[in-house]
Symmetry: C2
Subunit: 110 residues, 2 copies
DNA sequence: TATTTATATTGCAATATTACGATTAAAGAA
DNA sequence: TTCTTTAATCGTAATATTGCAATATAAATA
């Protein structure tokens, strides 16, 4: 179907999956890394940095924006993109809590 | 195209995206949580716990196995699935390093 | 051996994702 | 106003994902 059955999962599970999913593409990882590295963050620079066409980058930026991880400010004809620190912090809490689950508790006979 | 251009990204970027992608579905999050909670981890139990058909769960388990996050041991007619602690630790390092990037360094004028 | 039980695989339909050329929109420059 | 620049949107092709019914497989049991 291509359609996830989100209804049967908890809000937490869906939120975690949503964050993870948006990070589940190397171009979006690369974009986020670039935004962390650079203080200037013009969309055109991202297009030049990463070897993908402008509409493709624009689409990835849209997805990052849809979960709130980045925000864009119009500056004349160009757009300056930045990490949204509040949302990044939220994601960090959600994902690290999951990643830091105690492995010693996960013991089965296998 | 539906096909990611992995060639133009670094091994690290692709590895991160691969981990994130596999966690990018609530059913797989739910499965991992269940494997953490329970010490017994029979496939059939997972099917009962999560409201998805058996073939669907089997498919999700396959994807989790493909990145090495879980391993399955045959026990008679059933299969016992467990978290692979080594791989989980690897993922934890890769993702938390990314998540813990210094937000104060990411400053633009926006 | 035949039957049951538990899981994997196959095949398929519906939808989503990735990528890009072409076009559009909006702001600045000539 | 016209031209240029920059980024978003549209349209489309190729591929991937999600989900399940039906079937296959493999081990245990009767």
């Amino acid at each position: 179907m291509g359609l996830s059955k989100t209804e049967i999962f908890t809000a937490d599970q869906n939120a975690m999956a949503r964050y993870a999913k948006v990070m589940g593409h190397p171009a979006r990882i690369a974009i986020l890394q670039y935004l962390f590295e650079m203080n200037s963050c013009i969309c055109g620079d991202i297009v030049n940095e990463i070897g993908l066409a402008q509409p493709t980058i624009s689409q990835h930026l849209k997805e990052l924006k849809s979960v709130g991880l980045i925000k864009g400010n119009i500056e004349g004809t160009s757009v300056c993109y930045c990490i949204d620190k509040d949302e990044w912090s939220k994601m960090k809490v959600v994902l690290t809590t999951f990643l830091n689950q105690d492995l010693d508790e996960a013991n089965c006979g296998c």
